[in-house]
Symmetry: C2
Subunit: 224 residues, 2 copies
Amino acid sequence: MLRVMVVDDQALVRRGFALILDNEPDIEVAAEAATGIEAIKAACAHQPDIILMDIRMPEMDGLEATARILEASDATCRVIILTTFDPDEYVFRALRAGASGFVLKDIPPESLVEAVRTVAEGGAMLAPGITQRLISQFAQKMEAGRNLSERLERLTTREREVLEAIAAGKSNAEIAEALFIGPATVKTHVSSLLSKLGLRDRAQAVVFAYECGLATVGERNVGF
Amino acid sequence: MLRVMVVDDQALVRRGFALILDNEPDIEVAAEAATGIEAIKAACAHQPDIILMDIRMPEMDGLEATARILEASDATCRVIILTTFDPDEYVFRALRAGASGFVLKDIPPESLVEAVRTVAEGGAMLAPGITQRLISQFAQKMEAGRNLSERLERLTTREREVLEAIAAGKSNAEIAEALFIGPATVKTHVSSLLSKLGLRDRAQAVVFAYECGLATVGERNVGF
DNA sequence: GAACATCTCCACCTTTTGGGGGAGATGTGA
DNA sequence: TCACATCTCCCCCAAAAGGTGGAGATGTTC
């Protein structure tokens, strides 16, 4: 039995969702809340499997409440944001807060039920338009490096290694140490790769490495 | 009327999908193809609205065919990848090729129909697990900059501007010109921001800018 | 008004970087 | 074998970068 909590400041909406869900044999509405603060308390008290969360609420909005609930170490529940609007800002904040779903209130009832089941099974459910935008963003990042990657292929293996080290913020001396070669050799490689790539200095080289995908945000190879 | 094309090398599977779709009043199967090559020709000849594309096929796989079809300048159709497996490599290649959907063959028939309608309306449809992974990747990138963004706030407005310029690969002289200040002033700002952020040189500053989200891949503010 | 932050600039100095040119060792392929 | 690419290292030199300390001109805040 899936235990669901519904959070919305409008009692009418809240009851409506609750009725739809309670109508399903394998779903029960275990709790309701009208504000973010209430939601946090209720989540703690009733330990639901799934939380349907509105964004616009008095006291504390749904995104903040979602973040608070999910960052609790023993949190096992999953959150679906259920709202009327879908500006990018909300979506990003929701995903960062850890939401597993972001659906609009204009979906048909059966889709809401489907979303709850999907998320309960470990999947994620986004409104189609949001999925579309997420994909676009993703594809754009991947596409960015295409032309630049071709230039990358003109480098020798060693030069690429040096470029990677540069992109990790290393100085020539540190690169020499890391690659077990002399500092003079590093300088040779640096000069060579800069001229091959048409770059002026190592700062541009770092930019290039990120833009073409050689370096990626969040890798944490960085020494600071 | 939505005109759909089904591409799969197994005739039985292909006919099965076609029958499911033809059963809907607003959908008709306008063409079928058994290989990537055939798919490209058929797409050109029949101009379907939606293409359901298998990946594993002889002659040319579905991802390659998708890319070819969508990169045609007059391409108006949208592609849903329909496969048995979902390794990350396939998903990324599919999204990069421009697919609007990626669903697994084990979904219920009504979900397939729903996916077709969703994509036809301009949305996107991914298998729940894939959506989940896409979100995770996204959240990870966003999360990366959290700690670093706090350090960013210790900078003054001017210092942040200089940092942005550094992250665009500009030299001190170029920054001076861009901000209408003297080169000496730029050096002051650079020294100051490096020490505030605990960085050693401008190369590390570029890394920092990317890691904390001040600079983003694909912005193309870069001068090379 | 005094303390403070910010932005602007200067001089002096050291270190790092990048360019030019050269050279030996190795391996690969024509 | 000979040409070619690659990796290694050297020297010299000029330019850029970074550190230190100082200073005047604004504001803002208490």
